[in-house]
Symmetry: C2
Subunit: 497 residues, 2 copies
């Protein structure tokens, strides 16, 4: 046991109280307390409140009271993402069992590369991967936890390339590699096309229908075009849960096309993958077992603390083929234990943060049944929210609800009368949405993302995100719409816009 | 404040005690307590002690007592990396102020992409980056925190390619791209050459001298060869603190070559960068200000909790040129605040873990002076250790000490007499080293890495790593050599090998 007189250990023992005092754990039902989520300050203002600089007074050593004061201010001016009205991102509140496990992980401060350094965490990652493979129907698969969904998606491109053009590893990209993804897909595919040296012009955007699902006929046409042009199509990226509209591509239809043209099917299920836990909603992912690889972020809908992202692949060995470097200082083959448990050589990175334990503890606590109930509740409350949007005056859905996020407009009274929704109307709508968002943040008790959608020529609308944590209620759904109405009543929009 | 009756919050409040009971924070001076660092179990054995599987009994929901029991076992069988005798990796113990900040970071559970979601952490990252740029002499630079040194090094390749061949972003890699790095460089450069589609054959290994430093004449010759062969050399990766020997390449000499041939100079200072804090030792990094980009992992020598890795670049704007995707749902240009603070668009990933706060709090606590004292102590104790190796019978340095890691052999008595160090001798040496390592782990009170070194035709030797945390002492240095002697006395090596 530790010498508690050591001031640094004393500081550590206070962290829980600092956070608790700062309402970081508060997810109570009282929805309307002021500034409960964010006390927003502009950068110039915040810089006056907290001494950020590390280049002024570099010799200063702060004592423990001063460090505590700094921490209190960091907490005070940070967003309380666990507040039940934080719907700004695709992640929301977090699960406290997961958080406890994350704290243990960082205290045990190790890297996931060898069994020697992470015996327990190696077997925990194996268990999390195996559970995930089983859920998604990969019978002889492999997997790895990655630092975020973008990296997982890039693993998808990487393994696809390795599988279809294995000489790439030695020689570099062959000319003419082509990737297909929908125009509503996540931008990490674009970043990946750049980073992996494939080029943005070789990322072909496939049209989407009104709901944001990939138009599979357009896909096939574009594949044929690329073949005619002597290009090398090798990968289709399908999306389960698009970032903005929450659309699910039809995996079976896309898998048919991929089989016909011998293309790798990667499924970006970073957002929508969590539906797999629900017997009622997992049909959204029908066909995922036909994919070659899948990305899934339990840190989004499930509330696993950031970061927890899985890359799964329906084939053993290829992760090694892609990434093995057999560094002899780390992966010695004359070790005294079974070195097949040294997973580092199938990873793109060397040191790798342990991200599996928090998800594992949550699973042990809640079980499949618990997860299913959380997911079903998120769907149900999201659906209730969508119904409210439809029935309340001035609110409008952008598209019918597809996942647990809801895209909607608030249309001010004077704009409702206008029959023609012309460019001026949409410009006004964009301003109204951005303005209401600003008011929310300044009020400090509600955060909601907004977005235009270029692929559909739509101006700014709100994206309401419902996640598993804290458990959404009818009341917390109503609160969002009530607050928007309150802001609308306060400002007379025809005067402003 | 939180309702403490909530069982999940109760669990969280117990985490400190669970860790403290499990001796995770113990870095006391008593060096020899048994199994104080690791109670090693082989995978098959460990699987009997902890119910890892998530696919058996998937409906089971564990109650809080059972969860607590699982956590105690996870802690019990994990490596106590903060133990003062854990010298196995380039990271060692951790700083508890840093850990406290990491706990706050994960409780505040946010992503570093927008100012809106991470106002305080955005300005903290800015402060950490600015301090680092100043330290390394980048006058008009930019930087970003990355999930590990491999990613930082890949950013180096990525930005170099963007700078020298900007059409790559659109068109993909041009044919013939060539990278130079020393044969002792970290394997992330190899992984990067694969991942970024450049190809391993286009990664040219430059010879190193006996100490492991890049042979700059060989570099220049190989650059000339590649030009003669109509290839496109664009990047030299130099290393400050090689993984095994801790060698520092001569940056000024390499910078001269890079200037002559108009090549990007990336410096992998992931390990050795921390010497920058010491007036006495920072000369090792002389010339770093002439680099185009630098990677540095404060999570190694400095004891910042994993992960904390910086990528720095001596030029503004290029991170945006590389990575910008202008996703309109996240980086809306009609936001009400100064969106230049939305750093996400210069990142390769979308969501990005906050890794700056822990380093920032450590800096606030210890200041430059504190960091310098820690680094100087690590150098001093490492040097003492090297002296002990030289003076103790049976111990031998592999190369003179260059950083705070020391490579050495223990030569059993019967092998000392043999004059000719032939292949059989080296094979024996490799076995002895691996065997001693096994004994250490089984004893559970000491961990030390070992490695062969192909570039020098050397068999297994030990790599002793001294870091800043917990503060190394003469006693803790002696302990390592004493333990090896104890193991050697116990086993009569001539019988075994």
């Amino acid at each position: 046991m530790t010498n508690m007189e050591d001031s640094s250990v004393k500081f550590l023992s206070k962290v829980f109280d600092l956070l608790n005092d700062g309402d970081v754990f508060d997810s109570s039902d009282k929805c309307d307390s002021e500034k409960s989520m964010i006390d927003f300050r502009h950068p110039s203002e915040l810089k006056k409140l907290i001494p950020f600089s590390l280049t002024d007074n570099i010799e200063t050593q702060h004592d423990d009271d001063e460090i505590e004061k700094l921490c209190r201010d960091v907490i005070k001016f940070s967003v309380k993402t666990n507040n039940r009205n934080c719907h700004n991102q695709l992640f929301g509140g977090l699960n406290f069992y997961g958080l406890g496990a994350e704290w243990m992980t960082s205290a045990l401060n190790t890297s996931q590369y060898t069994y020697e350094m992470a015996p327990v965490f190696t077997l925990i990652e194996e268990a999390v991967v195996n559970m995930s493979l089983q859920l998604f129907g990969f019978k002889n698969g492999d997997g790895i936890l990655c630092p975020g969904g973008s990296t997982s998606n890039m693993y998808g491109i990487h393994t696809a390339r390795q599988s279809k053009y294995p000489e790439t590893r030695l020689k570099g990209n062959p000319e003419g590699l082509v990737i297909f993804t929908s125009e509503d897909a996540h931008y990490s595919i674009l970043k990946g096309a750049t980073f992996l040296g494939i080029g943005t012009k070789n990322l072909i955007a496939v049209k989407t229908n009104e709901s944001g699902q990939m138009d599979v006929d357009d896909l096939e046409m574009k594949i044929n075009d690329s073949i005619k042009n002597n290009l090398k199509p090798f990968l289709v990226n399908a999306t389960c849960g698009t970032t903005v509209l929450g659309a699910f591509d039809d995996l079976n239809k896309i898998a048919d096309v991929c089989e016909r043209y011998n293309l790798w099917l990667h499924v970006d299920a970073c957002l929508g993958g969590s539906a797999i836990f629900s017997r009622k909603h997992k049909h959204l992912l029908n066909g995922c077992e036909r994919a070659n690889s899948i990305s899934w972020n339990p840190h989004k809908t499930m509330g696993v603390p950031l970061q927890c992202s899985l890359f799964m692949i329906n084939q053993k060995g290829i992760l090694h083929e892609c990434n093995s470097s057999s560094a002899t200082y780390l992966f010695q083959q004359d070790k005294f234990y079974d070195t097949s448990y040294d997973t580092g050589d199938k990873s793109l990175s060397c040191g790798r943060k342990v991200d599996a334990f928090k998800f594992w503890i949550m699973f042990k606590k809640h079980g499949m049944i618990g997860f299913e109930a959380m997911i079903d509740n998120a769907f149900e409350k999201a659906s209730y929210f969508a119904d409210q949007v439809k029935s309340r005056e001035g609110f409008e859905l952008v598209v019918p609800i597809q996942y647990t996020s809801i895209c909607f407009y608030y249309v001010p009274e004077y704009m409702r009368k206008q029959e023609q929704r012309d460019e001026t109307w949409w410009k006004g709508m964009s301003k109204v949405t951005a303005f209401i968002k600003e008011q929310m943040v300044m009020n400090g008790n509600l955060m909601l993302g907004y977005s235009p959608l270029a692929s559909k020529n739509l101006g700014n609308f709100f994206r309401m995100v419902v996640t598993c944590q804290p458990l959404a209620t009818y009341e917390s759904m109503d609160f969002v719409l009530n607050e928007i109405e309150k802001i609308a009543r306060k400002f007379e929009f025809h005067d402003h816009f």
